[in-house]
Symmetry: C2
Subunit: 616 residues, 2 copies
């Protein structure tokens, strides 16, 4: 009973995403990691989210007609927030439609960009006058005279003067943060690249960027090979401590995969790895520790203090990343044991500290991260939401891969969206949220989280829905999602226990939000903006997340925006701009880490948050 | 006919030196590398050069009686400039008697010191609160909170958090230029050392300093093992280029010897080498290049451009110096191919840029370096003086070692001072200068440098002197210094050719001085101060150097001071003070390098300077 899927391709990057027919272009863009600006919250009134459909154009809607003239409509201009995707389409997103406008846009394709293009790595081609008796200054000062001051290590000190002379004092100097990385033959200024990398617990994504213009040359994604040592950060931390070489084993696993990604990116783009001079990494605190080979044991024990806080600038050779051996690696700063570089990346790219009015960012996952910006005040907390949102500990749960139910609509009956448009084999996080929200709306689940047995169901419930409620072998109530058919299909049903898991997860995040609001003396209605961060967040539907209390129910949906996979975007920004890097460091230092486990109010807030919010 | 020698020991350092009986304490101090302040130029009138003789006290002179009261004279107080050394003595030099007074004195024993004690290396003992849920900031930020911000490399990132936890968050942080070098167990603040090293072409001297108080714990000196590859810098430069491994061979030779010196210093002082965190090196440009393994080939070819100009901050591990493996090595900046770190060291410790009035510094050697400070203007030049002053290319020349005639007095006859108070086997630089000056004064050598034959000698010449002039087998005039006696003694005589060598050397230095004065629009009589630098300089007698024109004859001798072995002193200053290091860099950058070989006036100046000055 799955609805059909449409492929949407965004230009100029060529990013493509497959979405359920009827999804708005705005949401499809969010899933592709493009954050389109919607000051009106998707109400179709501000006219900010304009995109041009070049293939698969649909009829304009009422909102389109008020914003665009006939010629524009003819040319395919539509409002992303009001236009549903009904067939495969190709569309162009102008830079002005991306969130964070007003800055100089570096690369209109990937994200709004870090404002200005000022990478730490610079290449300068020089043609120096050869030394003469009249002009006999030392070789390195001769180079400095042309490119500004720099420092050298012993290796460069020995080589660069030789290179200068062998190349008749002509060539291209490579500087990284005022350190002389290399002196190359000829004019190689156009060959200056960097890699931005999101090190997720499950998935790693790497992006190759041209540092001359900020353009993305390729993206690859791989499973984090550490998953063989456990799905979540806690099992990785335990594994690291389980033997003498286990930390190395974890580090080598991720470094080897990173190396493979970089090799693939370079090969595909026709780039030599020696022309890649910097790699930037963002991830959660544990992933960043493991990447550096830093013992994560304290992250698994009270009080979960990380080894480092500031961002790290390390030698690429020391870290073991196969870029230019004298290149650098920048690893994001962290705020706390469970509020890491990925959260800072989200804060950075959403520019939440610069938002006018109180802003809340929520990253839903096994570990939920919540950040509240209120003027100068920045508060961050983590909430152990459990693995329900990643499909774990749910009887029919699964990750968001092919065959996973990722969208559930409850009206007269259940309508499923399945990834890959195939027969469903399980349900993933966004599907679970949809389902529980729907069950609450229909009165099948009570606000206290009780899945009502057949005899207690509301009288006005659609018969097809009522027919899906049954008592399992143990006598517990369950809700049938899909009936098993054929040999390889099992029956998919949501149990009371599953709902409790969701309830716990939602309660933890909601309680954390409430504590931060309380600390800032704010009410949910005071929030100007709510940002949904994290890769998973892009797949959550705002109304459903509000229905479960993952986002405060009192917030107008027009104030809710998607930040997308901010970890990769933040790494990109820090690669393209030292100013963005400086801001990331500043955000990390300014943010007060609120440890909820010792907060007197948290247990009470948690208990209260276990009750699902009132429906609208 | 050699005069007897006396041993003079200077407290509180314990430095000892052996001098000819009758040498002033002032000159003995200069030979020990102690620069005593003599504003009156040694006339015995200013009372600035006061020292206290504790053993071997002699009768006070007239000048002593005008400056000191009876009690002071009784206690051994004397004026260094007026008191001859007549027996072995031990004496104390109060800090106020050292050149450059007015600053806070770091170490009253060695030299006037860099002003303030602010070494790049700092140790801070901390007792941090352990992390709690209320105070869960990252380990390295916890440390920063106590000691200020720092950077870490990957190795420290991995180890320091572990060390913090293993040591209950107590221990001693070692910082070098805001880089975390180490975190040590317990309170090791008192164990913080550094090594200052003068890398001479012939001799290397290393000094172990306590960075807590600036005190010198020991000094060792070794022959530069590179001498087996040639005596002078030019032969070293040629050797470096003579095979693929020759540069490495030269580098290894000096590094191995430096390592031995450091081991000896540490063993003698009971210091662990891991508590030595920094080594500072000063030497001429070629020696500094070889120490770093930087190809010196361009220093041997026109236009003699060095590889680097700024001072170098390198990893001790990379350089191969056996101090703490995460320690640093600082190598002095250089001005030109033949004006190196040793010259900058001399400029630094003499504070010549801060002298009131035009100041000239002259370092006499195979390569003479001349620096002129005139207000904001700093000019430096090098002059190829040839090896005469080091005893080479002189028929009976030798280095200043045992058996070398180091002092020559001509009155009714010749009186010799021989190093080691033994029978003479040759004559070294200071002896040659004495001798030629004496021969000029007596009219045995003409102003044009002609050694007059017996029949042209002045009529009033003392008969014993006249008897020493003879014609050798080739018919050339020669002057007999010492008659060979017994089996192992050869006849020592100075030939016409020897005098030409001295004349060339003096002419080159005098011409360079004249060109710099001319560029600054000055006359020699405008000079407020003349500084004699270099280890060899301490052994030159001012009046004799003026007689030969090595120092402008027009300058009142009270304006002439000894700087001593400034290379070692400068390295000490840079080790003890980042401010001194900054000043060294500034001096290097501010100084204009005058290349004499292209100066139109130089050839003329050189020709003129070949005529010895008029006698007084």
């Amino acid at each position: 009973m799955s609805t059909s899927h449409c492929r949407v391709t965004f230009q100029p990057t060529g990013r493509a995403v497959s979405v359920l027919s009827g999804t708005t272009i705005l949401e499809a863009a969010a899933r592709a990691g493009l954050v389109i600006d919607t000051p009106c919250g998707g109400a179709g009134t501000c006219g900010k989210c304009r995109v041009r459909i070049t293939q698969g154009v649909s009829d304009p809607g009422e909102a389109d007609r008020t914003v665009f003239n006939e010629q524009e409509l003819e040319n395919g201009w539509r409002l992303a927030c009001r236009s549903p995707v009904l067939k495969n389409m190709v569309l162009e997103v102008p830079p002005s439609s991306l969130f964070g406008g007003g800055h100089q846009i570096v690369d209109s394709g990937t994200d709004n960009g870090p404002g200005t293009l000022d990478p730490a790595v610079r290449k300068i081609h020089v043609e120096l006058p050869a030394p003469t008796l009249e002009d006999d200054i030392p070789d390195l000062l001769r180079l400095e005279r042309a490119i500004g001051s720099f420092s050298v290590d012993l290796d460069r000190l020995r080589r660069v003067p030789k290179q200068l002379r062998a190349q008749a004092f002509q060539g291209t100097a490579v500087l990284s943060d005022h350190r002389l990385v290399d002196f190359e033959k000829g004019d190689t200024q156009a060959r200056c690249f960097g890699v931005a990398c999101d090190i997720g617990t499950t998935t790693m994504v790497a992006s190759l960027l041209d540092l001359c213009n900020g353009q993305e040359l390729g993206v690859v994604s791989r499973m984090n090979p550490q998953v063989v040592f456990g799905d979540d950060v806690v099992s990785r931390i335990h594994h690291a401590a389980s033997c003498r070489h286990c930390l190395d084993e974890l580090r080598n696993a991720v470094i080897t995969e990173v190396a493979e990604m970089i090799k693939t990116l370079c090969a595909d783009a026709g780039v030599q790895s020696r022309h890649v001079y910097e790699a930037v990494f963002a991830g959660n605190t544990t992933m960043q520790h493991l990447l550096c080979g830093v013992d994560p044991t304290p992250l698994g024990e009270l009080p979960f203090a990380p080894a480092y806080g500031r961002g790290l600038l390390l030698s690429s050779k020391d870290v073991g990343v196969p870029i230019n051996p004298r290149g650098m690696v920048y690893v994001f700063p962290v705020i706390g044991g469970f509020v890491g570089g990925d959260t800072i990346a989200g804060m950075l790219v959403s520019e939440m500290d610069a938002c006018s009015g109180p802003t809340l960012m929520v990253d839903v996952g096994t570990n939920g991260e919540i950040v509240l910006a209120n003027g100068e005040e920045l508060l961050a907390a983590s909430a152990a939401a459990g693995p329900a949102f990643e499909g774990a500990r749910i009887s029919c749960g699964m990750r968001a891969t092919r065959g996973a139910i990722e969208k559930v609509l409850l009206n007269d009956d259940v309508h499923l969206g399945v990834i890959g448009d195939t027969a469903p084999i399980g349900v993933c996080g966004s599907g679970i949220i949809d389902l529980v929200a729907g069950l609450l709306d229909r009165g099948i689940v009570s606000p206290e989280g009780r899945l009502l047995p057949p005899d207690e169901l509301p009288d006005d419930l659609a018969p097809a829905l009522a027919a899906r409620v049954f008592l399992d072998k143990k006598g517990d109530t369950a809700f049938m999602l899909a009936q098993g058919e054929g040999m390889n299909q099992r029956t998919l049903a949501l149990t009371q226990r599953d709902i409790r898991e969701v309830q716990l997860g939602c309660g933890a995040i909601r309680a954390a939000i409430n504590i931060l609001l309380q600390k800032a003396g704010l009410d949910a209605s005071d929030l100007s903006t709510v940002l949904i961060a994290g890769g998973f967040g892009s797949f959550i539907r705002r109304d459903k997340a509000q229905r479960l209390g993952l986002i405060p129910p009192g917030v107008d949906h027009r104030r809710i925006h998607y930040v997308g996979n901010a970890s990769l975007a933040g790494a990109r920004w820090a690669l393209l701009s030292v100013e963005a890097r400086r801001r990331a460091e500043e955000l990390a230092r300014r943010t007060h880490h609120v440890e909820l486990s010792i907060d007197c109010d948290f247990q009470m807030a948690f208990a209260e948050a276990m009750i699902f919010p009132e429906g609208s």
